[in-house]
């Protein structure tokens, strides 16, 4: 029987992508129910980089499988895909899962295509029935979840970012070095001329304690911009729905939901957001939900702990006015 469940460990600059740590949480539960083990699969160009990495030591998995080769310095999709497929052929795992990062979403289909196996996307939950693994994903229709399975092995999927919270492992995982055949072709057709590291403002949305989000009901980009003011008054972060990102009101990195990130704040306030399931799967772990909407029947109004039936732009304006007044009076 195949006994390993792999999680792809996206490793860069001596750090694991948090997405790789998140996906270990459900995989660990599946592994214990099915009596299998979870391994984080990491490709790197230097053992030094991976050694003493705190993220790895604290990862909630049984093993870390490491492939180290100088050709792995840059992530070149053709080569990385081939290395991953080769390891999968060698180890015959039960499942292989990727965080839905840019890198994970680019590599997973190369591996699935090479092995000719199925690959699910946007998975944000699992169910086990009689030893069979089903993957959950929101689908079309009001509040509908689809339960998927894969006819092929290994089972493969990309998992939504933020859908699972990171759990720390009880003890450091065992590190296993993986050797590829002597005649393995390490060449890539892609040559990296330059890689410019960009220090992006880290998006703290998925770990924010307060999230103020806006949808089309805010009507204009100008109104949407005001969310940043409210967010700073509440020491929170700004989130958005997909159509708002597509309209160019805000960067896609702020999208909450199945195609964006999941959040788990103490307080979530949604301004002019209908609350379709593709969005609400990303907020269901919020402790307290406030909706501002003119439509009493909107799904978000029903989910909310408190719903304000009013114009979102006006409520936003008055909140900012009143809160900035009270914070000034503190000075």
């Amino acid at each position: 029987m195949s006994e390993i469940i792999y999680a792809y460990g996206e490793f860069f600059d001596r750090k694991l992508h948090p997405g790789s740590l998140e996906i270990l949480t459900p995989l660990r539960d599946i592994a214990s129910a099915l009596n299998k083990k979870v391994a984080l699969l990491i490709l790197s160009s230097s053992l030094e980089e991976v050694k003493n990495c705190e993220d790895i030591e604290r990862a909630d998995c049984d093993e870390v499988h490491l492939v180290v080769h100088e050709s792995l310095h840059h992530v070149r999709d053709d080569l990385y895909g081939r290395v991953l497929a080769q390891i999968i052929r060698q180890k015959n795992p039960f499942g292989v899962f990727f965080p839905a990062t840019h890198q994970g979403s680019s590599l997973a289909p190369r591996v699935a295509g090479e092995l000719q196996v199925g690959l699910c996307a946007h998975v944000n939950g699992f169910t086990l029935k009689e030893g069979n693994l089903y993957m959950l994903r929101p689908t079309y229709g009001d509040n509908i979840i689809a339960e998927l399975y894969s006819k092929s092995r290994p089972i493969m999927a990309t998992l939504s970012l933020g859908a699972f919270s990171i759990r720390e492992g009880k003890r450091a995982p065992r590190v296993v070095m993986i050797d590829l055949p002597k005649d393995f072709n390490w060449e890539s057709k892609i040559r990296v001329r330059r890689a410019i590291k960009v220090k992006r403002e880290p998006n703290r949305l998925s770990i924010a304690k307060v999230v103020v989000a806006g949808g089309l009901g805010l009507k204009t980009k100008e109104n949407f911009q005001k969310l940043f003011e409210l967010a700073s008054l509440l020491e929170g972060e700004v989130g958005a729905t997909r159509p708002v990102c597509h309209a160019g009101w805000v960067d896609e990195g702020r999208m909450i939901g199945v195609s964006g990130v999941s959040v788990r704040p103490k307080l979530y306030i949604g301004f002019g957001i209908s609350g379709s399931i593709q969005h609400t799967v990303g907020i269901e772990n919020s402790e307290f939900i406030v909706a501002v909407n003119i439509d009493k029947e909107a799904p978000l109004v029903k989910i909310a702990n408190v719903a304000l039936i009013a114009d979102a732009g006006k409520v936003l304006d008055t909140l900012i006015k009143k809160l900035s007044r009270s914070s000034q009076s503190e000075l």
Binding site: E147, K151, V301
Partner: protein, 263 residues
């Protein structure tokens, strides 16, 4: 340089589309179809390369017969040849089955130097089809590219990653998926818009592509929907109505009580 091929997807207009109450999939046959908005940047980059290299641009889509209207729209943006991959047997294809159909069509069209695709489709939103098609063809793929140029017969790509920007060099042929935003996207040409209805759309089916029924569509798709279920919402929340001023004050008071506000 050989020809450039752009793969576009005809996606249902979410305002017109109906959801099948049984399967909870989109009823694509009845829906108005639009060009996947994320494919517009791929078409734009193809046109920029066409201007510089003078190569032919072929546009390809797999979809229902009415997807031809979407292809004609791409003609107005500058496409030279339109090909529709359409067959009942293709219905229900997952990304692997879709990629197989596209790969077969691309093989039939080879030699080509470059295949351009959108980063993701707005209905499937998997971003899987470009790399999966590339690997089935045994060629490299680069995702999320925002700029392409050519030097000495080699493509120079600017790729956006989560960590920065990469400048890559790849010899043809390859598959590239393009970022969802570009600085500029040209409007359709008026002259071409007027000819849109007359242009020919070549149709290829499973037989033309030598694909068996087992390889494609629902049967050729390893990922399957086992069931769908409704998520129950317990609407236990309070509903407040009144003037915005008053509601805001009540909200601030509540947030204070709950400890979400400092004072």
């Amino acid at each position: 340089m050989e020809k450039i091929i752009v793969c576009v997807k005809a996606v249902p207009d979410l305002r017109s589309v109906k959801v099948d109450p049984e399967t909870h999939t989109l009823r694509r046959d009845s829906a108005d179809l639009l060009l996947n908005p994320h494919d517009a940047p791929a078409i734009e980059l193809a046109m920029r390369l066409k201007e510089r290299l003078g190569v032919e641009v072929v546009v390809l889509t797999m979809g229902p017969p009415n997807a031809s209207s979407v292809l004609r729209r791409v003609y107005s943006l500058g496409a030279d040849r339109l090909i529709l991959l359409s067959d009942r047997a293709f219905a229900g294809s997952d990304t692997l089955a879709t990629s197989k159909v596209l790969a077969k069509a691309l093989e039939k069209l080879s030699p080509f130097s470059l295949v351009l695709m959108g980063l993701k489709s707005i209905d499937g939103e998997t971003a899987q089809v470009p790399p999966e098609t590339a690997v089935l063809l045994g060629i490299p793929s680069v995702t999320n590219v925002r700029n392409i140029s050519v030097e000495n017969g080699v493509f120079i790509l600017e790729r956006v990653t989560d960590y920065g920007i990469e400048e890559l060099e790849v010899a043809p042929p390859l598959v590239v998926s393009v970022t969802t935003k570009l600085d500029y996207i040209r409007p359709p040409s008026l002259k071409r818009l007027l000819k849109e209805r007359e242009v020919e759309v070549t149709i290829w089916n499973a037989e033309t592509l030598r694909l068996s029924q087992e390889e494609v569509g629902l049967r050729g798709s390893p990922t399957q929907v086992a069931s769908v279920f409704e998520k129950t919402i317990s609407s236990k929340g309070e509903i407040w109505e009144g003037p915005p001023e008053e509601l805001s004050e009540r909200l601030i008071e509540l947030l204070r009580q709950k400890g979400f506000l400092k004072s």
